[in-house]
């Protein structure tokens, strides 16, 4: 009983649950009852999860909140579509799929590198707004570059889609991304990212090349989102400026990461998955209200759950302290009365502290 909620037990439970989910997802397409539309929904979910993970690399680890992350998705999608579609009058050749996606992602990374060099010097809300501005800027640029992008009409790609294959590809890529961001936390580079978030000037004085570090992670996150953009364009078989550069993708990535836990490895995955299914349920049950409910949810998450779902299970969370506090008291049962008194006092202190931190969370 005593060890019910220790860190290692919690980690073990999380690991086993994760493994079961992964195995289930791998087996799912083999089942007869699984339809292609279910697989497509799941593929879209994996795309959202990937975007959350990528957003979290800059937004969570480095602390640079990108309000235009969907721009990398759009660039990846559009470059892939331009290369693969015959409707682009400047580039009517139809390229094969894999090089198109890779070039699309590389273009996204290159643009991110150039833009990041300028905008990553800005701090706080200024960076967010500059990136939001860049997002709107790119959408209009794509809309007016008619010879290349076919303007607002959009581009069509010939559909030859194997849904189970794409589901597996994206599933593996998402798992690789999770492993990557987990590994990143243990490297020196990952530590520099956190250092920049906590104290940028201090990090710089300790010899971290902050600009290069920020630009590198920013470009990587753009590359990875660009890959998913390209894959989405191919599976959707159609892009136009408004659906390729869709601001909801940024909002989802931020909301999912906030819900799961900003700056944690598993937070974006957990949060985005919960958000995705929550929205499906809302969509089915309250069609008219579902966006209103979502708006209230976002506000509630930000105000009352600032560390996300993962934060609930952290050692210093009020919830965990309360549970462990009562456990400790039961472990000391039968000791001398002096110890009991001390215990009662510390329990009182604990509950006061817990209450206080509770208030901190709500206000």
């Amino acid at each position: 009983m005593k060890n019910l909620l220790t860190r290692s037990t919690l980690n073990r439970v999380a690991g086993v649950t994760g493994a079961i989910v992964v195995v289930y997802l791998f087996v799912l397409p083999l089942r007869e009852s699984t339809t292609n539309s279910t697989l497509f929904t799941l593929t879209l979910m994996l795309t959202s999860v990937a975007l959350s993970i990528n957003w979290n690399l800059t937004g969570g680890f480095t602390g640079y909140v990108d309000f235009g992350h969907a721009v990398w998705f759009g660039i990846g999608a559009y470059v892939t579509a331009i290369l693969m579609s015959e409707q682009s009058s400047l580039l009517p050749q139809q390229w094969p799929l894999v090089p198109s996606i890779i070039i699309g992602a590389l273009v996204a990374a290159l643009v991110a590198n150039l833009v990041g060099r300028m905008t990553l010097r800005l701090s706080g809300p200024y960076f967010s707004i500059a990136m939001l501005g860049f997002f709107v800027f790119m959408r209009e640029v794509v809309r007016v570059s008619r010879p290349l992008t076919n303007g607002g009409v959009g581009l069509t790609i010939e559909p030859t889609i194997n849904r189970p294959l794409w589901f597996y590809v994206q599933l593996v890529l998402v798992l690789v991304l999770i492993a990557f961001s987990w590994w990143l936390r243990s490297t020196r580079f990952g530590a520099s990212l956190i250092a920049i978030r906590e104290d940028e000037t201090g990090a710089e004085m300790r010899g971290i090349n902050t600009v290069r570090t920020k630009v590198t992670i920013f470009s990587f996150s753009a590359f990875s989102t660009g890959v998913f953009g390209g894959m989405w364009a191919y599976q959707n078989t159609f892009v136009d400026p408004d659906i390729a550069f869709w601001e909801i993708r940024t909002i989802d990535a931020i909301m999912g990461t906030m819900l799961g836990g900003l700056g944690t490895v598993i937070g974006p995955v957990l949060g985005m998955t919960v958000l995705f299914w929550l929205r499906e349920i809302l969509w089915e049950n309250f069609l008219d209200f579902h966006l209103i409910v979502q708006g209230f949810m976002l506000g509630a998450i930000v105000l009352y759950l600032p560390k996300g779902i993962v934060g609930l299970f952290a050692d210093d969370s009020p919830l965990m302290q309360r549970i462990r506090g009562s456990k400790q008291t039961s472990a000391f049962d039968g000791m001398s009365s002096t110890l009991d008194d001390i215990n009662q006092a510390s329990e009182a202190v604990n509950s006061v502290e817990a209450g206080e931190s509770n208030e901190d969370v709500t206000i």
Binding site: M118, G124, V144, D288, L291, G299
Partner: protein, 299 residues
């Protein structure tokens, strides 16, 4: 030549509209440090109220703007007390996201009540043109907005520099702790500022309702323009807001006039946001200097 003059007139007219629209956003950011992501939604609410008053009781937006100001003043006061007060001292991301959730709720609630159809107000005062000669026409609807904008500008500047409450607001913007030490009731100042700005923003929406199409999701582009202008002009600067709004209005109008191929308005957006990024990177404190001395490159 007359094309150029016409573009100039249109630019000034748009600039007047933008001035009225941006003031509330700029002052809230400058005084409270809160980026009002729901700014465009308050413009939308003002426009819908004016449209409803016009449709049901045949009231001119110029008249209904006055009750709309007071209604939205109260709404803003309550919203500040209930919600915004909780996020003032939190990181920027928190206030941004909370205001963003407010914008989602407002826009979708309005959509639920009034549908997503486009509306436009038929105003008798704000209709038609004055011929100036040389083929240049001055639109009446824009001129009315410009005149109101100038009146509001002068009144606001006088209020902020001369009255006791206005001075308290500026003090709170410059140094919160020091303002509290000298006995300024910071909570009241914040609540009043927010209420005033929401009221002004709704008035901007009401007066521009004969000019711009009204629909539940019209807000976002106006919030973004408010960002651009505030970044250009400096946080909470009343004169700067005028300068920035005029600059953006003229740029959008000139670019739209001289871009061939029917993509003028898209080019206007491109130039506006290109300008935003360039200004933020090269001169983050804004072109005019605002209420709050902020260096965007430092936290």
């Amino acid at each position: 030549m007359s094309t150029f003059l016409q573009a100039l007139v249109n630019g000034i007219s748009t600039g007047g509209m933008l001035t009225l629209m941006v003031l509330g956003f700029s002052i809230i950011w400058g005084v409270m440090g809160v980026i009002n992501f729901a700014h465009g939604e308050f413009i939308m609410l003002g426009a819908y109220m004016a449209w409803y008053a016009n449709k049901e009781w045949d009231i001119e937006p110029l008249v209904s703007a006055i009750p709309i100001f007071f209604i939205m003043f109260i709404v803003g006061f309550i919203l500040q007390k209930v919600l915004v007060n909780r996020v003032i001292n939190r990181p920027h991301l928190v206030s941004l996201l909370v205001m963003f959730s407010v914008s989602i709720v407002i826009a979708n609630a309005v959509k639920l009540i009034f549908d997503a159809d486009f509306r436009r107000v038929q105003s008798d005062i704000q209709r038609g043109f004055w011929e100036v000669g040389g083929g240049v026409t001055v639109p009446r609807k824009g001129t009315v907005v410009l005149i109101v904008a100038l009146i509001v500008l002068v009144a606001l500047q006088t209020f902020l520099t001369k009255s006791r409450l206005g001075k308290s607001i500026r003090a709170a913007a410059q140094n919160r702790e020091a303002a509290q030490i000298v006995g300024i009731d910071i909570k009241w100042v914040y609540a009043f500022t927010f209420a005033l700005c929401i009221g002004l923003t709704a008035v901007a929406g009401a007066l521009t309702s004969p000019i711009i199409p009204i629909f539940p999701f019209m807000g976002a582009p106006w919030t973004l323009r408010a960002f651009v202008i505030t970044a250009l002009s400096g946080l909470g600067s009343v004169k700067g807001a005028f300068g920035g709004a005029m600059a953006l209005g003229l740029i959008e109008s000139l670019v739209a006039t001289y871009t061939p191929g029917g993509i003028g308005s898209n080019m206007g957006v491109i130039v506006a946001f290109g300008l935003l990024v360039v200004t933020l990177v090269t001169r983050p404190q804004g072109l005019f200097g605002g209420l709050r001395p902020i260096d965007a490159t430092k936290g």
